[in-house]
């Protein structure tokens, strides 16, 4: 088991190196002089030269890459061109709202989506299944930000139930304001996630309900509710958890948009500000940071399979 965990961790290293290489090459292989692109249209020759130095663009590409990898391995994500602060520090300053938004969204989505998907699967073909599936298709079709504005318009501007924008930290400003401000962004971001998880839950449970052991459970005289809870859902868990893991990438993309709509000072806003300022080290650092999170979370999910299914042994 320990050996397997060790092996799995080792296996993520090539993936991370590939991500790093990709991010690295993205800048170097883009058309034109990257330093000039970053410097923007109104930069002087000195500006361009300064950026070139800062990014180490004048050295051979292999040297650049190895040195950069070395820095990454020590947790150095680079330095912002404009604020001159380390990117890791900028991330640390902005991570709290993003983390809370992601957490509330995942918790809320799972709590809503798994029961919905299970009911839809159990009553596959009925009106309730059709409503759930319609909601799910709809959830995949409405752009996150449009949904955000509709919710703001209805719940904040018209009904005045919730604040329009901003973020309040639960540590410094209290739990009440925190929830008041995070409710709308969470609802907004959850819709697509609920759609995703409910769909996978439904498909997975439908498949499991066809299995022989479900028939065995019924042959024992087990009640339908217990058949669902004890036999079906437990066996359907692996694909559901997998889709949650893959959905993390979708969630992060949604966070960027949601933070922009609700004016939340998190990592998503950091990305957008960096794009507008062409502060490339920040973009680079954030991409690496997010894919690191994705890879680690999916590694944990992979390892959790053995808890859910005794057949998966390492």
């Amino acid at each position: 088991m320990l050996f397997y965990i060790f092996k799995r961790i080792l296996m993520t290293i090539p993936v991370m190196v590939i991500v790093a290489l990709f991010v690295f090459l993205m800048l170097r292989l883009s058309p034109g002089d990257p330093a000039a692109v970053i410097a923007g249209d109104y930069a002087t020759a000195e500006d361009v030269q300064r950026i070139r130095e800062q990014l180490g663009l004048s050295e051979p590409i292999v040297v650049q890459f190895t040195r950069w990898l070395g820095q990454l391995a020590q947790g150095d994500l680079g330095t912002s061109i404009f604020s001159n602060k380390p990117v890791s520090q900028l991330i640390a300053q902005r991570i709290e709202p993003t983390m809370f938004l992601a957490l509330t969204t995942i918790i809320f989505s799972v709590l809503v989506a798994v029961p919905l998907g299970t009911i839809a699967a159990y009553r596959a073909g009925s009106w309730i299944d059709r409503v759930v599936m319609l909601f799910s298709v709809g959830g995949f079709s409405v752009p996150v930000f449009v949904l955000g504005y509709v919710l703001i318009y209805v719940l904040s501007l018209k009904l005045r139930w919730l604040p329009v924008q901003g973020y309040k930290s639960p540590f410094t400003e209290g739990i009440g304001p925190f929830f008041a401000h995070i409710t709308l962004p969470t609802l907004t971001l959850s819709v697509i996630f609920i759609a995703l998880i409910a769909r996978m839950t439904r498909a997975s449970v439908i498949e499991v309900l066809e299995e022989d052991y479900v028939r065995t459970a019924r042959a024992k005289g087990q009640s339908e509710l217990k058949v669902l809870m004890r036999h079906a859902l437990r066996n359907a868990a692996v694909p559901i958890i997998t889709v949650i893991g893959i959905g993390i990438a979708l969630l992060i993309g949604g966070v960027v948009v949601t933070e922009s709509v609700y004016n939340i000072p998190g990592l998503g806003r950091l990305v957008l500000d960096a794009v507008l300022a062409r502060d490339y080290p920040i973009i680079q650092g954030l991409i690496l940071f997010f894919s690191f999170i994705y890879i680690v979370l999916n590694l944990l999910i992979d390892l959790s399979y053995s808890l859910l299914d005794p057949r998966i042994r390492y």
Partner: protein, 290 residues
């Protein structure tokens, strides 16, 4: 689902994929909706006002007297802009679907059939999948400059891994089938086995996947436009219209709501077709319906 049970036995030939698909109600109605949207997109520009026409006298007017959907902060007709935006959305969606399926199909076939390429291709795909699509697209566009072409490319790249995974899994399943082994035993060359016995099995799942990619590409394009990182702002794409509407949202919400609704309806139509296709073409789902 009130849908005809698969009645295969007595037909002289296996019905074509399209025949099976059109029997499905979702495919039919979703497809009809899409055809109408496409017609509007293609011909709408002929009947509406110039979407670029600035009219300082009627700025930020509500829907009604100043055009069906009102006007924006430069006095341009929102209705006309939304109609013209459809063309861009559909173009991006279709282009991304076609290109990413083509690249993904090729890589997936190679990864699935040639063991020595598998590890390499799949690690690269794992790496790509770990980067959030929107972030990747933003970064690519900000580096290479925003044009229709770079936006399409930036949306294509993160879509590829999913297609590769799908194709690869189909190939891995099919190559274990006895009929493929029989073809190997009959001395059939590898490329012929791929073309005759493996490739046809990927078509149905790929058609389904293509619709989902198309829908998600249209959404991504709009999000990029909305964030100000997409197609150049002077082109009236739905994302760009909504991006410009942000500033005055509290005053004039319609500038966001109308293009938003148009986008949602279009993507919904695409996704409904996708679901219908999946129900009627995917043998795994078909099995549970039996």
């Amino acid at each position: 689902m009130v849908q005809n049970a698969p009645t295969l036995p007595q037909t002289p030939e296996q019905p074509s994929i399209w025949r099976i698909a059109l029997r499905n109600r979702s495919v039919f109605w979703g497809g009809l909706m899409l055809v109408i949207i496409a017609l509007v997109a293609l011909t709408g520009g002929l009947f509406t006002a110039d979407p670029m026409d600035i009219n300082p006298m009627s700025r930020l007017k509500p829907p009604g007297e100043h055009g069906l959907f009102g006007t924006d902060q430069l006095g341009r007709d929102v209705f006309s802009r939304v109609i013209n935006g459809a063309r861009i959305s559909l173009t991006v969606g279709t282009a991304v679907a076609v290109i990413s399926i083509a690249i993904g199909l090729f890589l997936g076939l190679v990864a699935g059939y040639f063991r020595y390429m598998d590890a390499l291709i799949m690690r690269v795909m794992d790496g790509l999948m770990s980067i959030p699509a929107i972030l990747l697209a933003i970064a690519l566009i900000s580096l290479s400059g925003a044009t229709l072409l770079t936006v399409v490319a930036a949306i294509v790249i993160p879509e590829i891994p999913r297609v590769v995974r799908l194709v690869r899994s189909v190939v891995l399943t099919v190559r274990e089938e006895p009929y493929v082994e029989a073809a190997i035993a009959a001395g059939t060359k590898t490329w012929l086995i791929m073309g005759r016995h493996v490739l046809p099995n990927t078509i149905a799942p790929l058609i389904v996947q293509a619709t989902y990619v198309c829908g998600s590409a249209m959404l991504t394009e709009a999000i990029l436009g909305f964030l100000g990182a997409g197609i150049p702002p002077e082109i009236p794409s739905w994302g760009n219209i909504m991006s410009e509407g942000r500033t005055f949202f509290q005053l004039t919400p319609w500038i966001i709501f109308f293009p938003g609704a148009a986008l949602a309806v279009t993507v919904l139509a695409v996704n409904i077709v996708g679901d219908g296709l999946r129900d009627s073409l995917d043998p795994r789902i078909a099995r549970t319906m039996r």
